[in-house]
Symmetry: C2
Subunit: 195 residues, 2 copies
Amino acid sequence: MRICFVGDSMVNGTGDPEYLGWTGRVLRHERTRRPELTGYNLGIRRDTSGQILARWREEVTRRLPAEIEGRAVFSFGVNDAVQEVDPKQSLVHAEAILDDARARWPVFMVGLVPIVPDGARERSRKLDAAFAGLCARLGVQYLSVFDGLMQTSIWLDEARSGDGAHPAAGGYARLAALVLASAAWRRWMDTAPTP
Amino acid sequence: MRICFVGDSMVNGTGDPEYLGWTGRVLRHERTRRPELTGYNLGIRRDTSGQILARWREEVTRRLPAEIEGRAVFSFGVNDAVQEVDPKQSLVHAEAILDDARARWPVFMVGLVPIVPDGARERSRKLDAAFAGLCARLGVQYLSVFDGLMQTSIWLDEARSGDGAHPAAGGYARLAALVLASAAWRRWMDTAPTP
């Protein structure tokens, strides 16, 4: 199985001194079940939903040949919240991405993460809820991690003591643990794709 | 500084249970000097020089905004050797890639790695020498790692006991150590780009 992780700096793992991010930690864990598992990290710093819409299909298609089981995991939206993109626009972009992607590969979406400034964090929380509703409507698996990351202080503490935006190893490990512990992720990973 | 690593499965780190590959290990080490260092892994399994020529520029340009110091590291050619691409064609592709890239970013190239089948390994060794000559002519920093990886048995042993092509953590760690120990890499990383 080959999984493309598409998104922003949080997908890239920016700020993690171990250069794994949450995606590397999830892959490392999943490999115990699937030794042949390959990951492609397609997170780009500062990418908004509109920029991801413009590039995701081409980059993912190059990496997922038809003859091998491929999957796509998306996580984006915090840059929309930071840059105050109209949430209606973010939803239009997300729907275009997910509606196209789910027709070709099994798709999973990980929700928005908390960010340090109060206003942007509140916009991030609201967009997370809106994306959850969109995915429910589209039948795309969505995992909200916002509240889970706010339950301990590690994510925001590391972001504040780092570059002000990105956590370090502890925050990314916490996010990976939330993904791996979720029933939605386990079900999605263990379900064979419909041909 | 943001570095794009462009290449094939060996750049992706396929087979490494730690999901770092040599690029992740190099980044982890370099971060001790540059805490803000971001890496983008653009290795795609089975990519030949021709496929990389077709995609590298667009993918790298998206990830290296003009206002931030960006660099590009290339490593490819083993799939040309495996698939018996005419070496003249591989050289044409490599020159087109490197000549274009060096005009825009500081460029470094890591040579071909050994592969298991004797015939393909010999073609890989020859293409490594040809790429070294090309890079000398173009003034692009080139680090040959073929002989260094043949000095111990770990690379080929891990490839044989893995999927037959890719090493595991030991091989990738050895390759990262060769890069980090080289004067060429140190000089390249420590030299400010010409504006």
